[in-house]
């Protein structure tokens, strides 16, 4: 089984310098009492935090300074992200734009799109949503029916997207749309368009999640016009660019550190002298965590070299999100807790409340294990 590449990687010295810098920033952020790290994460939407992170130079690291970026390596970006996650920073406003939309625009976008959008993303002022899923197209992404028809100077979109996180508060979404009719090749005829959420012809309807929070939405397009220069790449190249995007979406530390603050609070709650069972179970979680970090680092290295390790990314997400799901389940066996979202400063209880209600999404967003395992099986030569 030589199909998968997880080469060892030593982070370069400039990554260590970046780590020191972002830690200092996060220390200041926490000292100012800006967020409660035990119940915030990369899905917590906080524009104020994102603006400060942008001003401090921690967004848009990989793209060129010509477009407001910092011309840094993907490994430095990796370090900034894992430090944000470790600190439980509320990085949700800029996360998607920094992780995948910005890099996609930098790679496939028109000159005007790059000049208009990238500097604002890097400043922490411009946020993105992912326009992939539709009411009849979830795991089967190639089944998208939202269409964009060619008109003078651009495209006109009709259709609907669903489960669009933050559609009500982001500036743009990148929509995967059908730009030519379905054919025998299901992956042909798809394109990605950058849609300004302020455009006429867009209606956003909230969908509350099980905790009563408003994160995702349904987005309806009725004759919504998108100019030509907001197309990513060539018309019809959408499937390739969307799968390339998924390598970024699936391999990062946000696929095994979403609830890492539960482990931090668990350790503090257990205290300095754990019993044998607590020591064994906590040790096991730490061993899983450390190993996942190594796998993810290795993919960051492949991405830095310009490769597109789509299958390896699927593998990290499958193993990583299984760890995220298991973590609170182990924690509650080690320390009796009746989680409450407002448990008067019992950080462990509050963290458990937050995570228990979030956990089902970990193995859904960004591709389910069932889909990921199909991709891995293909990589193994089984289909």
């Amino acid at each position: 089984m030589r199909a998968f590449r997880f080469e060892a990687l030593r982070l370069p010295p400039e990554a260590a310098a970046m780590r020191a810098k972002v830690r200092e920033f996060l220390r200041t952020e926490r000292a100012r009492g800006g967020y409660a790290s035990h119940r915030t994460s990369w899905s917590t939407f906080d524009p104020e935090f994102s603006r400060r992170a942008g001003a401090a130079g921690f967004i848009g690291l990989t793209w060129s300074p010509d477009y407001g970026g910092h011309g840094r390596s993907n490994l430095e970006r990796f370090v900034v992200n894992e430090e944000m996650l470790a600190a439980g920073a509320p990085a949700g406003a800029h996360w998607i734009a920094d992780r995948q939309s910005g890099p996609q625009i930098a790679k496939h976008g028109s000159e005007r799109a790059k000049r208009l959008i990238l500097p604002r993303i890097a400043a922490g002022e411009c946020y993105f949503g992912i326009g992939m899923s539709e009411p009849d197209s979830g795991s089967d992404l190639a089944a998208v029916r939202t269409r964009a028809d060619k008109v003078e100077g651009g495209w006109v979109i009709n259709g609907a997207k669903i489960w669009t996180s933050n559609a009500h508060r982001v500036h743009y979404i990148i929509a995967l749309v059908r730009t030519s009719p379905p054919s025998a090749d299901r992956h042909a005829g798809l394109s990605q368009l950058i849609v300004d959420m302020g455009s006429p012809g867009i209606e956003v309807r909230p969908i509350l999640n099980l905790a009563g929070a408003h994160e995702f939405n349904e987005v309806f397009f009725k004759d919504c016009f998108v100019p030509d220069d907001m197309l990513l790449g060539e018309p019809g190249a959408g499937w390739n660019s969307v799968t390339g995007e998924l390598a970024y979406e699936r391999s990062g530390p946000d696929r095994f550190m979403s609830d890492i603050r539960v482990l931090v609070e668990l350790i503090d709650h257990v205290g300095g002298e754990p019993d044998e069972r607590q020591a064994v179970e906590i040790g096991r979680l730490v061993a899983h965590f450390a190993t996942l970090r190594r796998m993810s680092t290795s993919i960051a290295g492949l991405l830095e070299r310009g490769e597109s390790p789509v299958t390896e990314a699927a593998l990290v997400k499958d193993v990583g999100t299984a760890f995220e799901r298991e973590l609170p389940e182990v924690a509650r066996r080690l320390v009796p807790v009746e989680p409450s979202p407002d448990d008067q400063g019992n950080l462990f209880s509050e963290a458990m409340a937050h995570v228990t209600l979030q956990a089902p999404s970990f193995t859904i967003r960004g591709g389910t294990p069932e889909i990921l395992r199909g991709m891995i099986a293909r990589g193994l030569g089984l289909r």
């Binding site: 470790a86 931090v264 205290g271 300095g272 899983h288 190594r294 593998l315 891995i376 089984l382």
Partner: protein, 364 residues
């Protein structure tokens, strides 16, 4: 691995040669004979002829002078082929003995003690010799090895390495699940000349456990890869309901999960290559052995399930790999042994220190 290009090429040639050697000598008959307790003379002679036991001994000390990364890959390949000889133990023992200033010896060399319960002691000198006391359990090929490298405490509590000839200690035969010899050696009264006693390298921190755990981790990564290869092959060949079982989603998902276990075990094993010689090695070994051990059990379970009854037979070679996985995960400290150490450490340091422990900064 981050190594110079030339070294990379050397490594590829050496591994390729070793692979062919293993393929040639580790036949099913050879494995079955070893299973019955017969020492594989021809295999060991070829292994020694190729210089593999001296892989980690520096060239100036008469060895091959491979890097730690190359040696790790060599051990993985030997385990992929389920080599029924103590090659990993001999590579480590020769390396440690050379590091302590000793001259390498021919023949298989085993290690003792191999678990945290056994303590061996070295009595003060009398007549220019010293005697050992204590027993070591589960010593790999304890009765058959030409020498045993023994870590013992002297009267001052300092850790010493002693190179003891085979047969010097009384042995009681025992086997692991793969029928690899795991003998008890009674060292009481065994005399060791001063020349065969050397201060143990500081990096051992008075124990062979982390080093042994690292060996077993590399071996598990190798044998897991073999298990998955067997399962992929079988799934593509075995036809049921009119098509290869590989075409069924249930089988595909099982094997995808198995690939995740292999990736995790391999990542764990790789981490030991970088940690070699650093202060963080013992912690890395704890992480790696416990993670790979857990993955090994899952891998064996999935691959047997894919092979169904055929894999449960003596006839099919899957068991040569899985019986080793079931043994190795428990040797040099099972998962819980190492997990407890990790857990106690991170709890003692507190929640906020977890992250710097993971990034490796806490150990430096």
């Amino acid at each position: 691995m981050s190594m110079p290009h030339a070294a990379h090429e050397m490594s590829a040639i050496m591994l390729d040669q070793a692979d062919r050697l293993f393929q040639q000598f580790i036949t099913k008959d050879a494995l079955s004979a070893a299973d019955r307790g017969i020492w594989p003379d021809a295999l060991w002679a070829a292994v020694e002829e190729a210089g593999l036991p001296l892989a980690l001994v520096p060239e100036e000390a008469g060895g091959v002078g491979l890097g730690v990364g190359d040696a790790a890959l060599l051990i993985r390949r030997s385990a992929y082929h389920t080599a029924p000889v103590p090659l990993a133990e001999t590579i480590l023992a020769n390396a440690l003995w050379a590091e302590a200033g000793g001259a390498p010896v021919a023949g298989p060399v085993t290690l003792a003690p191999t678990n945290a319960r056994d303590t061996l002691t070295l009595a003060p000198a009398a007549d220019g010799r010293r005697t050992l006391a204590g027993a070591a359990h589960r010593v790999p090929w304890g009765a058959q090895a030409g020498h045993a490298l023994v870590l013992a405490r002297d009267e001052a509590g300092a850790a010493r390495l002693c190179l003891v000839p085979g047969g010097a200690a009384a042995s009681t035969a025992l086997r692991n699940l793969a029928n690899e010899p795991r003998d008890t050696l009674a060292f009481d009264g065994v005399a060791v000349p001063e020349a065969m006693i050397r201060p143990a390298p500081d990096r051992l921190a008075g124990s062979l456990m982390a080093q042994g755990a690292a060996l077993r981790t590399q071996q598990m990564a190798g044998a897991m890869e073999r298990c998955l290869d067997y399962a992929l092959l079988y799934a593509n060949e075995r036809v049921q309901f009119g098509r290869p079982i590989a075409k069924f989603q249930a089988i595909q998902h099982m094997l995808a999960i198995a690939a995740g276990h292999l990736a995790a075990a391999t990542a764990a094993a790789d981490s030991l290559i970088e940690a070699a010689g650093t202060p963080g090695f013992a912690f890395a070994a704890a992480i790696a052995k416990s993670r790979a051990g857990e993955a090994a059990g899952q891998m064996a379970a999935i691959c047997h399930q894919v092979h169904a009854a055929m894999g449960f037979t003596r006839e099919h070679p899957l068991h040569f790999a899985t019986r080793r996985l079931w043994s190795w995960r428990d040797e040099f400290g099972a998962e819980a042994f190492w997990q407890a150490q990790i857990g106690r450490l991170v709890c003692a340091n507190g929640g906020e220190a977890l992250w710097t422990t993971i990034t490796g900064e806490a150990a430096e």
